[in-house]
């Protein structure tokens, strides 16, 4: 079936669907009166179009379908809200952090106890030093302890057992 042979199969679907212009429709119908092959094709196409119109999808539980759709919609909206809050979250966090930092800076500088805190630390250090004064007063003796030990070893050199013997 080619155009050269004068067949009109390419226009038959449009004819069946009623989408041909008047002139073209008349031309195709004239051809159909003389061409059994194209008439058979038109009959088949008409039957196919009718059968295709009757094809239906498998059954669906529409209430369940709607419930599921509602859930998906709610989930999508929650996700969108979460995305939005994620985008705007850094702003209040940064603002709050800045505010706290500013309060610490301003408030810390004007705190009356700031000097006292340093004084407390110094007092603690003094107390620790005082508790060690007794050791410090015997510093000479402490420094010479190692030396005394060496003297003791030298003194007992004769009585110490040799390395090789033992």
């Amino acid at each position: 079936m080619t155009a050269a042979a004068g067949h009109v199969e390419a226009q038959l679907v449009s004819l069946v669907r009623g989408e041909l212009g008047l002139a073209e429709q008349a031309q195709v119908e004239r051809h159909l009166t003389t061409c059994g092959e194209c008439r058979a094709a038109r009959t088949d196409f008409e039957r196919l179009a009718g059968d295709l119109a009757r094809l239906d999808a498998p059954p669906v539980s529409w209430p369940a379908y709607r419930v599921e759709l509602r859930e998906k919609l709610a989930h999508r909206e929650r996700a969108a809200t979460a995305r939005w809050s994620w985008h705007i979250q850094p702003l209040p966090v940064a603002m709050a952090a800045g505010l706290v930092a500013m309060m610490l800076y301003v408030g810390g500088a004007s705190l009356p106890g700031r000097g006292v805190g340093q004084g407390d630390l110094a007092a603690l250090e003094n107390t620790l030093l005082a508790s060690r004064l007794e050791l410090i007063s015997r510093l000479d003796l402490m420094q010479r302890l190692d030396l005394f030990e060496d003297f003791d070893v030298i003194h007992r050199l004769d009585t110490l057992p040799g390395r090789g013997k033992g």
Partner: protein, 192 residues
């Protein structure tokens, strides 16, 4: 007086409660049927048609009203389904679950290579079996040809509307319809 589809869409965009549910009830069957026609998978058709409704909910404000609401919405459904098909096919190829066939394309080269029925089945089959056989033949069409033929015959869309839904020219739609009908005729057999 019943609000039109276009009115309901505007109300959805305006956040009016109930408008979305109303549109869902009007279009759920058609959306599922189109999705099922393209995908031929119950779960995928359900998911894709629901996804189309979600996109409708999100993008109702972008409906300009220049076309019919149904045309605009069918386009969403078809796009979601064809995207789903492309993704699924991409994964299948990636995982080598199916041999990649370079000769296969959207225009249905596979159909051309399928053997014709050994005998004319139309004589022996009753109407129900003939429909079942027709579904099998429709299944061999590429998703785009299937979408074209089902939008034309099942949903009764004009060529101009199908072109708008599938983003094709009217000439291409006519070629698709002719190819689909010729293929189905060959697969299912003639009436005589």
């Amino acid at each position: 007086m019943e609000p039109t589809d276009e009115d309901l869409c505007r109300r959805v965009a305006g956040g009016e409660p109930g408008a979305f549910d109303c549109l869902v009830e009007r279009f759920e069957k058609r959306a599922f049927r189109i999705a099922w026609g393209i995908l031929r998978d119950h779960e995928a058709a359900k998911d894709c048609s629901q996804e189309a409704f979600l996109r409708l909910h999100e993008g109702a404000g972008s409906f300009s009203g220049q076309s019919k609401f149904s045309t605009w919405f069918y386009r969403i459904v078809a796009n979601v389904c064809l995207d789903h098909r492309r993704r699924a096919r991409g994964w299948r190829q990636l995982l080598a679950w199916r041999d990649a066939d370079p000769g296969r394309n959207e225009d249905g080269d596979l159909i051309e290579r399928l053997p014709a029925p050994a005998a004319d089945p139309g004589d022996a089959l009753d109407a129900e079996r003939r429909l079942s056989h027709l579904w099998c033949a429709v299944e061999t069409l590429s998703p785009q040809l299937r979408a074209t033929v089902l939008l034309a015959c099942r949903e009764g869309l004009a060529t101009r509307e199908i072109a708008a839904v599938l983003g094709l020219s009217e000439a291409t739609v006519r070629v698709h319809l002719h190819r689909a009908f010729a293929t189905l005729r060959r697969r299912v057999g003639g009436a005589s």
